[in-house]
Symmetry: C2
Subunit: 151 residues, 2 copies
Amino acid sequence: MSKEALPGLSLCNNAMLRRATRKIGQYYDDVLAPSGLKATQQGLLYQISIGNEPAMGAIAAALIMDLSALGHTLKPLIRDSYVETFADPADRRIKRVRLTPQGQVKLDEVMKLWRVAQQHFEEVVGKDRAQSLRAALEDVSALDFDLPPAA
Amino acid sequence: MSKEALPGLSLCNNAMLRRATRKIGQYYDDVLAPSGLKATQQGLLYQISIGNEPAMGAIAAALIMDLSALGHTLKPLIRDSYVETFADPADRRIKRVRLTPQGQVKLDEVMKLWRVAQQHFEEVVGKDRAQSLRAALEDVSALDFDLPPAA
DNA sequence: TTCAATTAGTGGCATATACCACTTTTAATG
DNA sequence: CATTAAAAGTGGTATATGCCACTAATTGAA
């Protein structure tokens, strides 16, 4: 009873999202840990692998991530030779990204762990609940939040 | 058609969560920007304000956040004199946290903006959809993901 | 009471992520 | 064609977060 006298943060969409991301992120990170990659890096490598030598801007857009943030996040992966970049010959403003052979090997390795994490997650959460959660997240991610006038 | 030849990341619960968090986080941050606080800081100030001079560990647990991460996150708020800490007299291992008077004023200010952000969010997403999204996030955050055996 | 756990935080290090100012290229326009 | 505007990244700075090793304080057991 002493708890919940005040609304708490469970009403804030953003706070709940962050909290869940910390929780789930720790879980996926734990399972992927043997690979030496974080879940964010696994996701980034995968995103690169399914693109056709994607431009940085394209990756950032797909991940709804700031372009400069992507640049920073890419650095450890370049340093560890999992990823390399090159200027687009047709437009030298554009920098394209691809996996190195080692990066492909590492991705294969980490995806095995990802499948374990993913499957166990769906066992615990339930396949349907996980599915509808992802759908809801996809939906809100696609929405257009214009700045409210009163702000 | 060229798209979606491969599953993409829309199947990964963690990736979708992160992506949505970036998107929504940017929106809330934008609306709260006039206060000079990020949405994470607003959430933290609020969490402190509804507690009874909560211990750091209690805050970290409520936010499902690493204790040391909380310590780091608290630093700018202490530096700006919105928050202060003191040792629990009964157990000097425990450090308690409270808002300063300025912190209370700043919280009142940022909560006005938060209400604007929250309301507009619910207009765009729909009150019911937002509600069920938060409930789903609450649910997964409460689950216990033991490390899967194959990992 | 003494000494081995356990608990609560800290500090260092690394990644994640954003914003801003700036540079380089390209595109657009008169 | 010269100038201006727009597009794509980079680097710096700051917050967000996590892990690990370490310290201090308390608890528990011999």
